[in-house]
């Protein structure tokens, strides 16, 4: 039933070795060292660091509170509001700065959550096989064919509460399947490795085998999956917020765009209000994509630059 996905389990062991080795020398996580060595990836990491920095220090960096609406509404960039103000009289720049928090939080939380779900489902299905696998695979495939955005819209629109965590939840439960599938196929190739057999003969328990023998050989896949999930989550949040399904009380780039769109930014010619969230968003996505390049190359030796 899984004939159709273009997923080839890539043997990532080679990469893991390099990662483990790199880690031993520097006491930082090995995958990080590997990523850092890749030029594209390094640029991405630096960009990401900037976003993280901005997000963490938002209260310090932002000139005003994001919801402080004490300014003249709907004015273009000027001395006190560098990017102008919203129709509600809020400072666009401050919203932009605080928006980084939301995007990163969503990316991190939804990325983690969907990675965890994907890992749990994928590992269970792949390691146990049999009926469990059949059932879980069915759900994986189901989740893959169900059109995600309509589902997200439905869930987000009909959930009893609005809020960032709802969005995170919705994104996670609609976005785990691809990762689960990749992980499942990877564990299927890994579980028949001789060293797994050896671990069984060494008397290790199944849980220990999964955690200590298999997982370390999947870190790059997990990292790739996590980055992919982050990208999807950040994009999903922006999309939902843009459609007005987000939480209007949280400041995110998506809600900014939504409010810029409905608040007449085009009408009043406030290009900065319209452009800035998009550019910030694209910047964060570029950072993550560049990092993903490195991670991809890490797990797929064919893609290494030479």
């Amino acid at each position: 039933m899984t004939t159709s996905l273009p997923i080839q389990p890539v043997d990532t062991e080679q990469a893991e070795v390099a990662a483990v080795e790199a880690a031993r020398a520097t006491k930082v996580p090995g995958w990080f060292v590997i990523l850092w060595r890749n030029r594209k990836c390094r640029i991405g990491l630096v960009m990401l660091a900037v976003f993280v920095f901005v997000a963490l220090l938002a209260p310090v960096l932002a000139p005003y509170a994001p919801r402080d609406n004490s300014f003249t509404a709907s004015v273009g960039p000027n001395g006190s509001n560098w990017l102008g103000t919203t129709a509600q009289g809020e400072d666009v720049l401050s919203q932009l700065v605080y928006g980084a928090r939301t995007s990163l939080l969503v990316g991190l939380a939804a990325g983690t959550l969907s990675t965890v779900i994907g890992l749990a489902v994928g590992l269970t299905a792949g390691y146990l096989r049999g009926l469990v696998d059949e059932v879980l695979s069915f759900f994986i495939n189901l989740a893959l064919v169900v059109p995600v955005l309509p589902l997200m819209i439905t869930l987000a629109a009909y959930a009893p509460v609005k809020g960032l965590w709802l969005i995170i939840f919705v994104i996670s439960i609609t976005g785990w399947a691809y990762g689960a599938r990749l992980k499942r196929s990877q564990i299927i190739t890994l579980r028949t490795r001789d060293y797994i057999t050896a671990a069984k003969f060494a008397g290790d328990s199944t849980a220990r085998i999964i955690v200590r023998e298999i997982l370390p050989n999947m870190t790059s896949l997990v990292v790739v999956g996590f980055m992919g999930a982050c990208l999807g989550a950040i994009g999903g949040e922006a999309g939902l917020a843009f459609l007005g399904l987000g939480d209007p009380t949280t400041t995110s780039w998506g809600t900014m765009l939504n409010q810029a769109n409905t608040g007449g930014a085009m009408l009043t010619g406030q290009w900065a209000w319209l452009i800035a969230p998009g550019v910030a968003f694209a910047g964060l996505m570029t950072a993550l994509t560049l990092i993903n390049f490195g991670v991809d190359a890490l797990s797929n030796p064919h893609l290494r630059e030479d």
Binding site: E13, Q14, E16, V17, V20, E21, R37, R193, D194, Y195, T197, A198, A199, K200, F201, A202, G203, D204, R212, E213, P216, N217, R304, E305, D306
Partner: protein, 590 residues
């Protein structure tokens, strides 16, 4: 002018974030029309890189860094791709190492012939070509995945001959195939070569095969040619100590007393600058100068050799420097530790194993010999309790029915039955150190503390010859050579102090020069620790070296069994005969 002239060719791998490695270093040789030349070398010796350089198929990051290749008067290394193209296949063709993957999976065999002809504006009859390699014409309509490995390799061979080339480069053409199939294909190749008269460069790590096939043999070590002699001459007198060591690893299993050589150590790291003889570190007869002076490839014997000693003394004798002598005294009659009685195993109605009976006795080795699919591995699974026999029984000492063990009891049983795997690269978790790998069975089965386990792991490493253990405990598997890894695997198997060792092809993935070394280790361990060992192999020679008793398996059934020497000297079953014939035997070839 020779057909192929390789002059001082060097190939360097320059990865973007790594030190450059000179994989081929100043290699020069010629091949004449119709000549069948063997190129022998261990993995990493640069032989395949050399082949790719000749074919001009080097991909980044590898590139020719010096010297030239001329083929039929065309400077292969410097010509443009368009100048080379008419040469390709029409004059120089090839068969790659992995037949599994060298055919386009999405077009038919016929189409692959057709586009070959089309690319050169030629016409030909693929059916005749297939006939040459004993394949039916209906193969043309089929896709590669519908063919067996042997058939694919035959197709690849037929394809290589499609345009009647003057030269065929064969890069390990039969690796991964069953011995008997391998044997047949090579026979056919040899016949075709003498019939059609093309020249061959035959690249292989298997000295026996090369010796048997080639007119002339070149030996490569660490990127350099170290010896180049006519096969016959080489057989009787190997010049380089390395060649001598390699040849020493062959023996006639039928001999009453046999011994095989091995060359301890591993090839040098080519990413570092090389001084002196590259083989010096492993050479049993090296002198002081060897580590400082780099020898040249100079005429010697019937060809050339690269050795200071040969240079100075004309001949060296490095043979029997390190060898494993199999002396099989009549095994004492002791009680078996495991008894397999009339065991059978069915998968989906197909009998993988049928009516097999044998015993494993302490201090003795029982060998299961057969090709893939013969049921050897299934028997191993029965013995280790992974599978339960469909009928018959597997009984461990004390009347334990292995097939019925589950859960904790199975775990307890596994303490006594440990595995040595075929591929040392897959048998160790790439992210775990030997210290970890060894401490697991120690902690789980013997209940040692973490610190005790570590001490013990060190002792075990010493036992398997990894000395000093402290150097190896915290290395990662990829930092170890194949032989070292296999020693770690063996150490891990010994850790819980098992009664039974099941070794599934433990040497088949290792370089020829060190196989005997591992066999010797296993032999020692079995005898001194009184282990009952099940040795699974396709190779009668190694069975002859190690085993007290041998069972020859074919399609799940034992076709012949008995004392090893008796079975081999006195093979009754045709299948055993075939296996014996398939052993390349340069020593006994006359």
């Amino acid at each position: 002018m020779a057909l192929l002239e390789v002059d001082d060719l060097s190939v360097t791998y320059s990865p973007r974030d790594g030190t450059p490695v000179r994989a081929v270093d100043g290699v020069s040789f010629e091949i004449a029309d119709g000549e069948f030349v063997g190129l022998l070398g261990e993995s990493g010796s640069g032989k395949s890189t050399l082949g790719n350089a000749i074919l001009r198929l080097l991909d980044k990051p590898a590139a020719v860094s010096g010297g030239s290749v001329r083929f039929d008067g065309v400077a292969v290394t410097s010509a443009s791709e368009e100048e080379i193209r008419p040469l390709r296949w029409a004059k120089i063709s090839t068969v790659f190492q992995s037949s599994m993957n060298s055919l386009n999976p999405v077009i038919t065999i016929g189409a692959q012939f057709a586009d070959t002809f089309a690319a050169h504006g030629r016409e030909g009859d693929p059916a005749t070509l297939l006939d040459l390699v004993s394949l039916d014409a209906d193969v043309l309509r089929r896709y590669p995945h519908e063919l067996s490995g042997g058939m694919k390799q035959r197709v690849a061979l037929a394809l290589a001959l499609a345009l009647e080339p003057k030269f065929v480069l064969l890069d390990e053409p039969t690796t991964g195939l069953d011995v008997v199939v391998q044997h047949n294909i090579l026979q056919r190749l040899r016949e075709l070569q003498s019939q059609l008269g093309f020249a061959v460069l035959f690249i292989s790590h298997d000295l026996g095969t090369v010796m048997e096939m080639a007119d002339r043999v070149m030996v490569m070590y660490a990127g350099e040619l170290v010896e180049d002699q006519p096969a016959r001459a080489m057989m009787s007198a190997q010049l380089h100590p390395y060649t001598q060591g390699l040849l020493g690893s062959y023996a006639d299993p039928r001999a009453t007393e046999i011994s095989v050589d091995y060359i301890p150590g591993r090839p040098p790291d080519l990413s570092r600058p090389q001084v002196g003889c590259r083989f010096a570190a492993r050479c049993p007869v090296a002198i002081d100068d060897c580590s400082t002076q780099h020898p040249q490839l100079l005429p010697a014997g019937a060809g050339t050799a690269r050795c200071l000693l040969v240079e100075r003394a004309g001949l060296v004798d490095a043979r029997r420097a390190r060898s494993f002598v199999a002396v099989r005294a009549e095994a004492p009659a002791v009680d078996p530790v495991l008894t397999v009685t009339d065991a059978a195993k069915e998968y989906r109605g197909k009998r993988a194993v049928d009516g097999v009976s044998f015993e494993l006795r302490p201090g003795q080795v029982t060998a299961l010999v057969g090709q893939s699919g013969s049921g050897k591995t299934t028997i191993a699974r029965l013995v280790t309790g992974v599978e339960r026999p469909t009928s018959g029984s597997v009984t461990f000492t004390g009347g334990v029915d292995v097939g019925s063990l589950r859960g904790r009891k199975l775990r307890a049983y596994r303490r006594h039955t440990q595995l040595v795997f075929q591929d040392p690269f897959a048998a160790l978790n790439p992210t775990r150190t030997p210290a970890y790998a060894l401490s697991r069975p120690l902690q789980n089965h013997l209940g040692l503390s973490k610190a005790q386990a570590r001490t013990r792991a060190g002792e075990l490493l010493e036992t398997v010859g990894l000395h000093p253990a402290s150097q190896y405990l915290d290395k990662l598997p990829h930092q170890l050579s194949g032989g070292q890894r296999q020693r770690v695997v063996i150490a891990r198997a010994l850790a819980p102090e098992p009664r039974i060792l099941v070794a599934d092809e433990p040497i088949s993935m290792l370089d020829v020069s060190i196989r005997a070394e591992i066999l010797e280790l296993l032999d020692n361990l079995v005898r001194t620790r009184q282990l009952g060992m099940l040795y699974i192999t396709h190779d009668l020679l190694s069975a002859r070296l190690l085993a007290d008793e041998v069972l020859v398996l074919n399609e799940g059934q034992v076709v012949e069994r008995g004392r090893t020497l008796q079975v081999i000297q006195n093979a009754q079953a045709t299948y055993t005969q075939e296996l014996l014939d398939a052993i390349p035997n340069p020593v006994t070839r006359s």
